[in-house]
Subunit: 214 residues, 2 copies
């Protein structure tokens, strides 16, 4: 397809597509003459992912480029490739290891992973930005005096594990490994707000059931 | 307790506490002399909540004040009181009703709520900012070409419902209705990052189990 059709089908303006091409976020089309290039379904898919990262996720262009380098690296195994792409997403602040709340939080997260038998998460541990994010989020609760520990987190972790199984089932329905990795990255950015809204809506619903709307 | 002890136990500096007092985020202490006031456990609890909203949640002072007005309004029933406090939290952009992706998303959310039998969520509908957030999040997925509908969302919604039941059980362990409402607001701000991190960690774990770490 030509640039105009790529723009129409993706809903991204031609000026923005040209910007993404210049920034290396989108591979050049196949040149068919001095002034025109041809784009395929792969370009359309990539454009949707770039839009998800930048326009919906608010991720800086340089970070998006780094995420896409990992998405495209088919020398890596699937878990590592997905992990590298996800780890390149913005992860929030580093934790302060001298902070006693962080020390307690790390201990509780370690206990949690042991209780659950999540052996990869335990081995990778503090190397993973996701692990660090969890420690940081738990330390915020502990610092504010909420009694938050492994036993309280475990049932929530089990629910999130069921969600993760569904995520991967959904991902596996895509035919190629490249599309699967793209889907995982898009889901990490786009799907979180859906889960958050479903959670709050469920709280409202359950609260109305328990206490009525008096 | 005196201001110095309140500061020490809460980890909030006396200058910041004085600022919160001036801004009406914290009720004045009981005056015991011209220059000193006495604070109680209620002040400590409220200070933790204010810190959760402002320092962790990054919520503007004016918004936090509005949230707290609802938290303190014991003329309301419990569901309405929690709802009002949660609805006063920042909710993200309004949806554009002329956008076809928003129209499709709203239709899918309505079908979802009907499938689930969430009757309060259906009745309150677009009045709820949470409902609007969900429509907006789903419309972002639809606009980017992901095949996202009621059937795909339903199992995730059931998982979030189980999480919401746990949330309310946890909340009910607090003795007074005032503390319970405070807990719900703090959880909405502080607990979301924990769930998000648990979800991503579960994805890494399940991915390693399915595909190994080759």
């Amino acid at each position: 397809m030509r640039l105009a059709e790529l723009s129409e089908r993706s809903g991204v303006s031609t000026a923005t597509i040209k910007y993404y091409l210049r920034e290396g976020l989108l591979a050049p089309g196949r040149r068919v003459s001095a002034t025109t290039a041809d784009y395929d379904e792969g370009h359309l898919r990539r454009l949707r992912l770039v839009r998800a990262l930048i326009q919906v996720g608010g991720i800086p262009v340089a970070t998006a480029r780094e995420v896409l380098v990992h998405v495209d690296d088919d020398s890596l195994g699937r878990t590592i490739r997905m992990g590298a792409a996800l780890w390149a997403l913005p992860q929030g602040p580093e934790s302060d290891d001298g902070d006693p709340a962080v020390v307690t939080a790390r201990h509780e997260v370690d206990r949690l992973l042991e209780m659950l038998g999540w052996s990869t998460a335990r081995e990778v541990g503090a190397l993973s930005p996701v692990h660090r994010s969890l420690v940081l989020a738990v330390s915020a609760l502990i610092r504010l005096g909420y009694p938050w520990g492994a036993e309280l987190m475990a049932p929530y972790a089990e629910l999130m594990y069921q969600a993760a199984e569904r995520d991967l089932d959904f991902m596996e329905a895509y035919p190629s490994e490249a599309e699967q990795v793209e889907m995982v990255v898009a889901a990490a950015v786009l799907f979180q707000p859906v889960l958050k809204a479903l959670h709050r809506l469920a709280q409202e619903e359950e609260s109305a059931r328990r206490y009525g709307l008096e």
